[in-house]
Amino acid sequence: MERSMRADDVLVRVDDLSVAYGDTTVVDQVSFEVPAGSTTALVGESGSGKTTVARTLLGHLRAGARLTSGRVSVGGRDVFGLDRAGLRRLRSTTVAMVPQNAGHALTPSMRVGRQVEEALLAAGADRAAARERTVETFAQVSLPDPDRIGRRYPHQLSGGQQQRVAIALAVAVRPKVLVLDEPTTGLDVITQRAILGLLRELTLRLGTATVMVSHDFGVVAALADHATVLRAGRAVESAPAKQLFQEPGDEYTRELLGAVPRIGGAVSRNGADQSQRGESPRGESLLRVQDVRIGYGHRERDLAVRGASFELRRGEVVALVGESGSGKSTLAWSLAGLHGPRDGSMRYLPATGDGDLAQAARRRPLELRRRIQLVFQNADTSLNPRRVVAEAVRRPLRLFRGLRGSELAAREAELARDVRLEPELLRRLPMQLSGGQRQRVGIARALAGSPAVMVADEITTALDVSVQASILDLLEQLRGEHDLACLFISHDLGVVKRIADRLLVMHGGVVVEEGPADAVFDGPNHPYTRELIEATLEPDPELARASVRPEAGGDIRESLSAGRLTGLRHDATDPGVGASTGAVVWRWRDAGPEMVELGDGHRVRQWELTSER
């Protein structure tokens, strides 16, 4: 099915769109156009109305919302002027959407092939053609073994593969317009890079007009040709991507871009902080973890952490980095006494007793228990929805410090001020607070026991960039004020670069690289670390696009000979660059447990090369 394709074909035209929910205007006079073969991003923080705008392209409004002005036309038809049948036709053939969470968007009890076929049947294809087209589409989205993968159920696929199926579901009917709702938000950086590369290629090849919704400027930079920044339902700025990132015209855009953590260049932390970090004296060791192995079952393959060793010093922020499933959260939970290690030792060194952290929280002496505190990722579920948030802070104060009455109230207010929160806000229920405020309460709760070590498990992941920046600032201040050591768990290297003194990179349950933040970012690295660094998207269209290009990352052997990698086991045979034909892909394989010392505490676990066809 060939379509006449002119670059100036405007397929999506949103004109003066306003949407109200009750009496509240959630979208206020937004206009934009998307020509065929190009991508427009709607960027903004949560509550900016970006998803509401994107969904109007499918003629969808949330229950209770209504159009108060404007027009949305897709492929030349006024979406809100269509009757039910027309709308159904529009959705089945002209416009398709890739949802945020593919894991939830796919029907769990239906083979993925059937799900794609169903979309094709709805668009009017016959059964045989649908089956053929499904396989074709699976190949197009680079799913492995496209002939047979359709027989699988969603749970048998990885997160990245599920997202590919969701994309296949959308592009199978060759829609003219593609709506991407935060298409890579739940994915780790390496998978994200692959998915973004695929989306970019598909948009160009199929000539679709793509509208993407995102809060992540890195993703926008990688994909969008044009971007509209939304704030509280209003478009504050609309510009070609390059221009938007290089010379943002609006104050708000500048603020947002300034808050995005970056890993490249000298734009990490401000100068004063930088020098402070350089001079920060190596404090006494607080925590020593040695050869810890943690598992959820009894077998060897149930191990989530298979041998981790590190130290944490007073006043130091150590970042624990790795993709989901690398064992970093398990390690954190174990330190907090929620899941005992199978063997190895974990000690809190300054303790008067033996400071053994291998025992469960309940068995630890009170004095030890309060020294290590956890802050959680999800501010929505980390506070009891039925209790005022003061209760969350007051409970540990009573339990750990034995405070009562006016003393308790005074300390409670003091903690609120410590985390820069109005003490009055403590009288509210969690749902009456914003995400950032809730996260501050979570931090206050951890501080209530006067801990020496704070374990922060992805605490900024669910937050908007500007809120994220303020929480990171807070953490920075707190570690000075309270002399805190912090184990900061994150998969976002930009955030890590901003806050961490040292890095621990985990992969498959082992620490593959450890060292001072600057040394790790400068390299040379373990191949996995390198991959993580290269897959991290900078808010800069050129860098981000280079990063998602299919050939990005390159050959592992080239990186090795260019000096970007280290830690290759010395007795392993190095096939050398150009030793084989192009069809062979070289990968790394763990060859630990020995680490290669690079000085200043920078250590890289040994690995070896392995070829794969």
Binding site: L338, R362, N384, R386, A390, S406
Partner: protein, 296 residues
């Protein structure tokens, strides 16, 4: 405690009560249901004031009389006023129903929350026990208990409690299991809180809506069960006025004085329908849907 402390502590309780009240008010079904139930309770309490007859006073001369101004619902085979007996007849059922429901739901909630929190082998053992009790038909289990232990009010209460606890455990455990992995519970565990304390502070407030609906549902089933027992002759003893017993006593005379059988049936039916409406209304008004709407 300081003043500010008190006001802060007062906020959630007030808030919760107000939420409950708003939930009931927002649902017509719940309002009507609760009104019916309240009416039944009032009538049972005030029964002696509402009629001029004694429920056990038999006047053989007036036996099997039809509907008249003296006897608005007629009389039964011993000449007792049917309306009087119907008004009094809820007392036994209501008391047994209330006591056993509160006992069953209370016990079941604590056990359900506990096993959800504890997990592991304790969870397995308790749930298999629950399965085995649930496998026995309720009325059969009741008859065994009553036959073995006699037919006192307390025996019936205990028997119904035993029969209903497993079901409550199962429902509450399921609700609690979705709360246990949430991070505020994890935080409490990392603080090294005692299990009972976690259960009371973190779990109970968040399964309260499920428990409330369960309370209303179980109460309606318990009312039916008590009446069934009485009908079978294992609940209230003659000459006590009781709905189930009245149906059993008067069904032979159904064709002669239909009101003597129908009146207690209508009374029982309205009570059960009231409880069911309340349960449905509450479930809809502040079940999962409502939580989503607020948490949006």
């Amino acid at each position: 405690m300081t003043g500010s402390e008190l006001t802060v502590a007062g906020t959630p309780a007030q808030g919760t009560l107000r939420t409950v009240w708003a939930g009931i008010r927002s649902s017509r079904a719940a309002t009507i249901g609760l009104a019916i139930v309240a009416l039944h309770v009032l009538v049972a309490i005030a029964a002696p004031l509402l009629t001029s007859y004694a429920p056990t006073q038999s006047v053989p001369a007036e036996a099997l009389a039809g509907v008249s101004w003296d006897h608005l619902a007629g009389t039964d085979q011993y000449g007792r006023d049917v309306l009087t007996r119907v008004l009094h007849g809820g007392r036994f059922a209501l008391v047994v129903c209330a006591l056993s429901t509160v006992a069953a739901v209370g016990l079941g909630t604590v056990v359900g929350c506990f096993v959800a929190l504890r997990g592991g082998w304790a969870d397995n053992v308790v749930m298999r026990l629950v399965d085995s009790v649930l496998a026995v038909p309720a009325i059969l289990a009741l008859l065994v208990v009553v036959t073995a232990l006699g037919t006192g009010t307390w025996v019936v209460v205990a028997a119904i409690t035993i029969v209903y606890v497993p079901g409550v455990v199962r429902v509450v455990r399921a609700a609690a299991q979705s709360v246990v992995p949430l991070e505020y519970v994890t935080a409490a565990r990392a603080r090294g809180e005692r299990r009972w304390s976690i259960l009371r502070r973190e779990l109970l407030p968040n399964v309260a809506d499920v428990v409330a609906v369960e309370l209303a549902m179980r109460a309606s089933w318990a009312a039916l069960l008590v009446s069934s027992l009485s009908f079978l002759g294992f609940g209230a003893n003659p000459p006590t006025p009781d709905w189930g017993l009245m149906v059993a006593e008067n069904r032979t005379a159904l064709t002669v004085v239909p009101m003597a059988t129908l009146a207690p049936i209508v009374a029982l039916a309205t009570f059960v329908v009231g409880l069911n409406l309340a349960a449905d209304g509450l479930a809809k008004a502040w079940g999962i849907d409502r939580f989503r709407r607020d948490g949006r």
